[in-house]
């Protein structure tokens, strides 16, 4: 019905513009907030949130208490809600939307079939056209469908009807994907009174880390990725995500990492829940952790805290090592590898009589304007970065051909480079190379690849 018609029927009608994107974002926030009940939550369609509470209901004193707590909290935020707890996603979906007169339904285990049968067929999450078709042939209730022969149903209405029915009744599994990644370990701290003081947040963080560490220690693992979520009373969730360079379960170290980022958390009017979740773990043997107050003898564990501190401010990608590789292409002979990766301690054989290599290598090489006399000569003058250099001494050429056995290296422009080590009048020494031949398709070009000391 157009808005103008509706207003003519009822002039006092309150209207609001539809904002599907905003609604979706709000629903997502609500799903995040629901993580206080379980790590596994996801928005469901446009009007619902699924929460997998298997194994977490007992923390709230049972399903009834959990549902009551959820309803009360939603009510306090002026959100009208219908809540259903059932064995299957399909049954919970149906009960939440189609249960007559009740806004809170808890189906005891095994009651799906009986509870579903009086509901209309729309409760099976069917598209409107299919539901309409079912109604037209007189199948109005889920119970009517259950009695029908399956092959006839499938022939007439497609396989979706039978599948939804089986999923709702628990005869077929239903794969689900949660919102984001489900953590492997999780600890939670709730407050009767919301907290907002930075010192309190810090203490809460320390408490959570202390709770988590013994669990990690029991299992012989260390955390690589962690997420600390602060649930505000207005329903927003503030998060701190951390990565560590090496698996860690040192409580002081982990707490220090979080503390550095605590000032990015806006507590708003107060925080009622703090949840620390671990997403990635790696085996960590017991001896790597030192005694408090004693410097550790192991050199690698000594710098791990430093790398974590640097990595969490600058990004772990900012930390790297130089690793030699067996390649005669200069830029492939020494590569940057992430600092967390395992050392490949394979000795790389270097030719003993290799000409000197520069101390700084520019990647990519920088093109220069060069002048030279004979085809195989180094340039006598070149201009690089708007500075003109007159060459007084030169060594070369050292010809470096591309590694033809690599697929990506084949047929590139610099397939063959002639390197020259040149010295200008000031005594600065450069590594120049010429790419291309005289008489080739393109005139030769010159590049500065590095500077010598």
């Amino acid at each position: 019905m157009p808005l103008a018609d509706a207003l003519s029927f009822h002039p006092a009608l309150a209207t609001a513009a539809a904002e599907p994107t905003e609604d979706a974002a709000a629903l997502r926030r609500l799903a995040e907030w629901c993580r206080r009940y379980s790590p596994w939550t996801a928005p469901d369609g446009t009007d619902g949130v699924r929460v997998e509470i298997t194994g977490s209901a007992h923390l709230w004193g049972g399903e009834t208490a959990l549902a009551a707590d959820l309803a009360a909290r939603l009510d306090r935020r002026h959100l009208a809600s219908r809540i259903a707890i059932a064995d299957t996603v399909g049954a919970a979906w149906a009960m939440a939307r189609f249960a007559e007169g009740k806004s809170l339904v808890i189906l005891p285990s095994g009651d799906c079939r009986a509870a579903l049968s009086p509901l209309p067929v729309e409760a099976l999450r069917l598209d409107p056209a299919t539901a309409q078709g079912l109604r037209r042939v007189g199948l109005k209730r889920v119970g009517d469908l259950a009695a029908m022969p399956r092959d006839a149903l499938t022939r007439r209405f497609g396989e979706m009807v039978a599948r939804r029915l089986d999923q709702a009744q628990g005869d077929l599994p239903e794969p689900l994907s949660p919102l984001g990644e489900a953590p492997t370990r999780r600890v939670r701290l709730s407050f009767a009174e919301p907290i907002a003081d930075p010192a309190d947040l810090m203490r809460a963080t320390e408490r959570l880390v202390e709770d988590l560490v013994p669990r990690l220690a029991r299992e012989g693992i260390g955390a690589r990725r962690l997420d600390l979520a602060f649930h505000r009373i207005d329903g927003r969730v503030e998060q701190i995500r951390l990565g560590t360079a090496r698996p860690s379960r040192d409580p002081r170290h982990l707490a220090a990492l979080f503390k550095e980022r605590l000032d990015t958390v806006d507590p708003g009017l107060g925080i009622e829940d703090v949840i620390l979740a671990v997403f990635a773990v790696e085996p960590l043997s017991a001896e790597q952790i030192g005694f408090p107050g004693h410097p550790t003898s192991c050199e690698t564990s000594g710098i791990a805290p430093l790398l974590d501190r640097l990595g969490n401010r600058l990004g772990l990608a900012a930390l790297s090592r130089l690793e030699p590789r067996a390649s005669h292409i200069p830029e492939r002979a020494s590569v940057l590898v992430p600092v967390g990766s395992a050392h490949s301690r394979t000795p790389v054989a270097q030719a003993p009589d290799k000409p000197p290599r520069p101390i700084r290598l520019f990647e990519p090489q920088e093109a220069v304007e060069a002048f030279w006399l004979l085809p195989d000569d180094p340039p006598f003058r070149f201009t690089w970065r708007r500075r003109r250099h007159r060459v007084t001494r030169a060594d070369g050429p050292e010809r470096i051909a591309d590694e033809w056995w690599r697929p990506e290296g084949c047929g590139t422009v610099d397939a063959i480079r002639d390197y020259y080590r040149v010295e200008d009048e000031e005594g600065r020494r450069f590594w120049l190379f010429r790419s291309g031949f005289h008489g080739g398709n393109q005139p030769p070009r010159w590049f500065v690849h590095g500077v010598f000391s």
Partner: protein
Amino acid sequence: MVEERACLPELRERIRRIERPTLAVHGVLPFGVDEIDRVLPGGGLTQGALHEILGVGGDEEDGALAAAFAAGILGRLAGTGEGTVLWCLSRPDLYGPGLAAHGLDPARLVLVRAPRDSEILWAMEEGLRATGIAAVVGEVGALTAVASRRLQLAAERSGITAFLLRRWRDGGQAMRERNLPNAAVTRWRIAALPSQPPPIPSPASGGGNGWGTGVGRPRWRVELLRCRGGEPACWEVEEADATGHVSLAAALADRPAAPVSAEGFRRAG
């Protein structure tokens, strides 16, 4: 006169103890070249302190010689090869084989890339407070006196030696920053000198065209512009070899290095 000279370091040490009684002495790292070590207080480069290294001309932007000079010292700093060197820079153009040629094993390096000077300084300071670090190097453009003071204090406290390689974006920044005072214990300036031609020209050096011979062994002019408790000086050396040692250039090895007056250097800037 000779005796007076001899007791000067002792007096300096006593004054230092009065000024900063809590400060531990972290020792010195000699260069192994008498002419250089004689000028430096304590007979070598102070460990657990901040040292600043500058380039000249275009090298102020590339920082090649400063990196090579630092690499030579770093290679010897932990002679046993233990301990990680934290090298903070904005543009990761260090080349492993080149570092190895100056005595620094690239496997000991951890490179920290940060786009801004302030982040590099922060990373250096974190490194100076950490354990398991042998030395910290930072390639810094803009540097405030306060930032250098913080680094110097952190280095003194932990005993980790820190090197500031000054690497400027362009000539304008170099002009502004070059002469600003800071808290570094020493300030070095390394310039490239035309290399000595090798005694026998190499056949591949384009010799037939009459414009030069092959590149010889590189030589540097090493200037000590500022040194707490020491005199400015200047030497011509041959570049650090694979053991990280520099040596006096052959032509100068026979005569003593002429100490240059401090005023002269301040004017030259």
